[in-house]
Symmetry: C2
Subunit: 259 residues, 2 copies
């Protein structure tokens, strides 16, 4: 498959490389930033770095929009692709309908459900790819492409993808924030941040093995009011963290009422 990539961020970087390695040909790469498009195009050789969203002459059959969610609308408003080609976005939070304004193309969603950093290599084969398409034929084409880079290809419609994204915000974005708070608390206590690593890893391993609600531990689920109050006192100079502590304690206790 001949592919044009729109975007040069973390998703474009990893998805482009995975598609390239699977034998697809990245014929062109668009980014508004010259340095970014040159750099990624060089990685995806012989991709041509292009500075215009008129992509009708790139020779591609598939156009992959991998830009920040907030930039999708402006790409859709500007991009020109050949009639009959397929355009997909790679966003977990945007509906298929976000691509409605593109003339002459069949549209789809090609969402790799993972968090990417350019500096960290990643095994694409285990990353779920969630697909959606405006018609069955387009879906089948996307399914074939996705199947060349991942063993985990799922059809998930826009409504469900939004619910999935919400679940991911809790499991990943919020979890990361809590790990950040924890790390900051360790720093404040002059304790090494490696100290909690085995506990964090085991907690997550256990939560993935069982239902997390069934393996909940800690002062909240024990309704250990003494410890809870001491912790709140330790947080008295950090009112935001104190509020987070209180609310999550109440949420755990709502799940596990006092016996």
């Amino acid at each position: 498959m001949k592919i044009t990539l729109i975007g040069s961020g973390n998703v474009a970087w990893h998805l482009g490389k995975a598609l390239n390695q699977a034998g697809h040909k990245i014929v062109a790469l668009y980014s508004p930033t010259a340095a970014h498009r040159e750099e990624l195009a060089a990685e995806l050789s012989p991709a041509k770095a292009v500075d215009s969203l008129d992509l009708r002459t790139t020779g591609a059959e598939l156009f992959v929009i991998a830009v920040p969610d907030a930039a999708i609308a402006s790409v859709v408003a500007t991009v020109r692709v050949p009639a009959g080609s397929i355009v997909v976005h790679t966003s977990g939070s945007q509906p298929l309908a976000a691509l409605q304004g593109i003339t002459g193309a069949r549209t789809g969603v090609f969402y790799p459900l993972q968090t990417f950093s350019k500096s960290k290599p990643i095994d694409f084969s285990t990353i779920p790819i969630l697909l959606e398409a405006e018609d069955e034929h387009t879906f089948q084409t996307l399914q074939e492409v996705a199947g060349t880079i991942s063993k985990e290809v799922h059809l998930v419609d826009s409504r469900k993808r939004k619910q999935l994204h919400l679940a991911a915000v809790f499991a990943c974005n919020f979890t990361n924030h809590l790990l950040g708070i924890s790390r900051q608390l360790l720093q404040q206590a002059d304790l090494p941040n490696t100290l909690l690593q085995p506990l964090i890893q085991e907690t997550v391993a256990k939560a993935l093995q069982s239902h997390p609600f069934q393996v909940q531990t800690g002062p909240a689920v024990r309704h250990d009011q003494n410890v809870i109050e001491e912790h709140l006192k330790l947080l008295q100079d950090q009112p935001f963290y104190q509020q987070v502590y209180q609310l999550l304690t109440r949420s755990i206790q709502a799940q596990h009422p006092k016996k």
Copy 2:
């Protein structure tokens, strides 16, 4: 070292086995519940299951209290040990002073910083053991014992241990709760809970490699108000989760103000 274990829960179970395997002799095991003490004593053969907290004749030099935090006070009030022996508790949240009422013994804390389930074998050698003792000689004895089961032995006083425990509540107990919410949201959307596993694992791996605040992703850090409002709408029938979503979003945004 001859050791008597007080308790038969998850900590007693794993710590007892680790001490046993390291060549220490568990001479007696106390639990108020006959079935529990018989079961664990059999695992720690030839430990004797005892039903009294008068432990003066067990022959042990070290007494390890591994009971729920809320039960420590009643053990302290009742237990009898030989003069000059060492008594430790294994709690992350209780100070050394929680053992003050024990007559004639030197006291310490022997806190294995990990979450334990009886059904899940665990490699003790990488588990940090946090020690504290009322005097240098007792500390050295505990350090020797801890060194036989773990490579990660640290001196952490009661004040710091409390701060560490607070950090662990954020990193583990609260994180587990968020993973539970996420799993529930997936169930409600009729999506397989395995779908988010690679993302969760990568998120945590990344958070442990870098400072989590520096690798924060998601709608909150992007100040993507459209997505945030759609998520809040999806949570309208779950007001607790909606509150958690709002507060953690604000906490992330306080960390990462809009540019």
